[in-house]
């Protein structure tokens, strides 16, 4: 039975777009336009798989960088529509040339692929080489490397970056294909600094999606901003026209915070259920707050138990709740990850946290600081990678990503 089911699913994939549609593969045939007011991959209904890559720009030639952004734009647009990375494709080029698409996504449907680009601090002011591209005066004031937080044990080799690409899809092969081909096109201009695979979205970005679980086994992202909340998106996610005079090019864009959060899974698994629920502030089964009600009911932080509030003040939900941060909310879009095992035989696993915020100085840093200081969950978390990127707005027809920045 199980084998039969698996074979059917595989059959759906190899049969190509039409076949997958016939198999009712859900999101596999979904495709999202690459161009628009905002980049796709932010409010887009969170896909199941992630390949995220951060790049160092290794040239100081502005034209070369802009040319890459133009070629990346074309390739990303094609791939999100289920086409090849290059115009010829994996098998239609000359026999004496390497194909301009690597081919592993041949016959696969678009799988809801989105490709989202971001610019890191080093693009504007490189630690060694300074203002390589003459854009330092356009650097957004909020685009400063994140501060050190308690429990940060960052690996510099997988933190930071001058550019980032977030590729999300329902099929991991489609997401990997996108990053692989974009990285290939960038040789000589950019160099992959680090990358991260993710599975199992840990957030819900539309009201129609159910809330998934993280590797602690708890529903995650219950209070997330949803695509339908247009006012909240304007307030908390999209950079406004008057936010930063130096960075008008970022209007309609956002900031992407990426944090690789390793979980001490083995120790967590030994915590009694009641303690796990107190650490999180939610029931493990229903996802509802300890103060009662269903998952979508607001926690009651005032409700008193026999020895303090029913919602412990240092439970995760209490600690990061918007009410503690002048209403600051983020759009979370994280993924579970398992990168094999540690040298001690434990799971090298956790949550690759991604959040989009209008201003990290108010929307992220205060929340992370409070969490790192006293959140009960911190005992079981180690932050091993951290990066911040400015995500330019969507790409209009005929333009390339970041065109306004380099105009």
């Amino acid at each position: 039975m199980l084998l039969g089911g698996a074979a059917l699913a595989t059959g759906g994939y190899v049969a190509g777009q039409a076949g997958a549609e016939a198999a009712g593969g859900g999101g596999d045939t979904a495709s999202y336009p690459f161009r628009g007011t905002h980049q796709a991959g932010i409010v887009t209904e969170a896909q199941d798989r992630l390949h995220f890559a951060a790049f160092d720009v290794i040239t100081d030639d502005r034209d070369r960088l802009v040319d890459l952004l133009r070629r990346w734009t074309d390739a990303a647009e094609r791939m999100t529509q289920g086409q090849s990375a290059g115009p010829l494709g994996a098998v239609n080029g000359g026999q004496n040339l390497p194909p301009d698409d690597t081919g592993e996504a041949l016959d696969l449907p678009p799988s809801g692929l989105t490709v989202t680009f971001g610019f890191g601090p080093g693009l504007f002011d490189h630690p060694d080489d300074g203002d390589r591209f003459g854009i330092a005066d356009r650097r957004p004031a909020a685009l400063e490397p994140l501060p050190h937080f308690p429990a940060d044990v960052l690996d510099p080799a997988r933190s930071g970056g001058d550019l980032c690409i977030q590729a999300c899809a329902h099929d991991p092969q489609v997401a990997v294909h996108a990053i692989r081909n974009l990285a290939r096109m960038g040789f000589g201009t950019v160099s992959v600094r680090w990358s991260q695979l993710g599975f199992g979205r840990t957030s819900t970005t539309t009201t129609s999606q159910s809330t998934p679980r993280n590797l602690f086994g708890f529903k995650d992202g219950t209070m997330n901003i949803r695509a339908e909340e247009t006012q909240a998106l304007d307030d908390h996610v999209w950079v406004g026209a008057d936010d930063d005079p130096a960075a008008a090019w970022l209007t309609g864009g956002s900031y992407l915070v990426a944090r690789r959060v390793a979980m001490t899974i083995e120790v967590w698994d030994r915590q009694p259920l009641g303690d796990q629920e107190r650490f999180v502030g939610r029931f493990k089964g229903s996802g509802g707050p300890l103060s009662g009600g269903a998952e979508d009911v607001d926690p009651d932080f005032e409700m008193q138990g026999s020895d303090g509030p029913i919602m412990p003040v240092d439970a995760h939900v209490s600690m990061v709740h918007p009410s503690r941060f002048e209403g600051a909310r983020m759009l979370r879009r994280g993924y579970n990850f398992v990168d094999g095992t540690t040298e001690l035989g434990g799971l090298d696993a956790g949550l690759f946290f991604i959040a989009f915020v209008r201003d990290p100085r108010t929307g992220f840093i205060p929340v992370q600081t409070a969490m790192a200081r006293s959140d009960l969950l911190m005992e079981y978390l180690r932050f091993t990678s951290s990066a911040l990127f400015a995500v330019p707005p969507g790409v209009a027809p005929g333009e390339h990503v970041g065109q306004a920045l380099f105009a």
Partner: protein, 396 residues
């Protein structure tokens, strides 16, 4: 210790009031629930607790392990109790049941008269009803000596913690004098020996607010602008070899940091003298100390400059074993297999540690290779898994 405040410890000591009443400790474990045993009636009961009602699904149940599944249908936070027939002694309780939530109470009950009580709003005598536990085939053995065992265990553990804190103070004062006199070789030799007394009672020490971050914070866990004090600040001063661009302390700074540490240790001594423990403080503390090993010592992060992690490792295991041995008689009667397993795993881990001894102490942890660290980690996991069952075995 690692992070700012430790939830495990706060949990352990803060919930004294919520801990299962010790008088109720009975032998027999929480297994063997057989709700479908028609001949004896059901041991799985449901309770609907409203603001003015407390409906229990039955008025009696056969002796054995009873489970009350309590649903709060009211608007107020409630509690549920099983009391003895006089309504004075608490046999079991579950607190903090918010409206629209459920909670479970599992108790071992012998034949006799009881009362059930819901307490909406958590005040007053509650809404009570009589409840009978009838005779059954299930053996529920109540040891008259359990309370004596518990009393002994708690008294012994309190004495142990006080003794360790006292020894810590003596050695910390000695250490401070050496550091101030710039007798660094002697200070380096004493550093791990003094810290042993801290690490043995680490989960207790961590329960006292900011004492732990003041005394034992690691550099990596500092917040921006937070002042770094305590043992690890002095560790870096004494082992500056790997510290890039380190500025050594002045004499005045050495005096300031060591006096601060001594002062905090005096606070610790005063605090432990007035701390009382419950039986789950011991069992949770035992588990918590092994977690310290798993998260900080195995990785070599605790003693980043001195590499004396194995002293801390041994001390955490010492403390865990002392706490376990205190509750061991209870485990022996409630779950003898668990006691045997824990004895064996403590012994296996100790054998690995003994192999790393050198002189009066241990080899430097930076000489312990990945393979040996892996073996230690495996042994810690093997012990920690059964240890995570300890609290349930002693309080249910």
């Amino acid at each position: 210790m690692t992070r700012s405040l430790r939830p495990g410890a706060r949990r352990t000591l803060a919930v004294v009031a919520a801990a299962a009443p010790l008088a109720l400790l009975v032998a027999g474990c929480t297994e063997n629930v057989d709700p479908d045993d028609a001949a004896e009636g059901t041991r799985a009961l449901s309770v609907t607790a409203s603001d003015d009602g407390c409906e229990v699904s039955a008025t009696d149940a056969p002796a054995g392990t009873l489970t009350f599944d309590v649903t709060n249908s009211g608007d107020e936070v409630t509690e549920f109790y099983l009391l003895d027939g006089d309504g004075l002694r608490i046999v079991g309780e579950v607190e903090n049941i918010a409206p629209n939530t459920s909670a479970k109470l599992t108790v071992n009950a012998v034949e006799g008269d009881y009362q059930t009580a819901c307490k909406p709003g958590m005040v007053g005598d509650g809404i009570r009803a009589d409840f009978a536990v009838t005779t059954s085939d299930e053996e529920v053995e109540v040891s008259e000596d359990d309370q004596a065992v518990v009393d002994d265990a708690l008294a012994n553990y309190a004495a142990y913690v006080e003794d360790q804190a006292g020894q810590l103070l003596v050695k910390t004062e000695e250490f401070a004098a050496l550091v101030q006199a710039r007798d660094d070789d002697a200070a380096r030799a004493l550093y791990p020996e003094a810290r042993v007394h801290w690490e043995r009672i680490e989960t207790v020490a961590e329960s006292f607010g900011t004492l732990d971050p003041d005394m034992d914070l690691r550099e990596a866990d500092l917040e921006p602008d937070q002042e770094w004090t305590g043992w690890h600040r002095l560790e870096k001063e004494l082992w500056p070899e790997d510290a890039v661009g380190y500025t050594p302390m002045t004499d005045a700074e050495r005096t300031e940091y060591t006096e601060h540490l001594v002062g905090k240790t005096e606070e610790l001594v005063a605090l432990v003298a007035e701390t009382e423990y419950t039986i789950d403080d011991l069992s949770n503390g035992s588990r918590g100390l092994l977690e310290e090993v798993a998260t900080g010592k195995i990785t070599g992060e605790e003693e980043a400059w001195s590499h004396t992690d194995l002293w801390d490792f041994q001390a955490n295991v010492d403390g865990a074993r002392v706490a376990y041995e205190g509750v061991r008689p209870l485990v022996e009667s409630s779950d003898p297999d668990l006691a045997t397993t824990l004895d064996d795993e403590f012994a296996s881990l100790q054998a690995l540690l003994d192999a790393l001894r050198e002189g009066d102490g241990f080899v430097s942890y930076d000489t312990v290779g990945d393979e040996q660290r892996g073996e230690l980690s495996d042994a810690v996991n093997a012990l920690s898994e059964p240890l995570s069952l300890l609290t349930a075995a002693v309080v249910s």
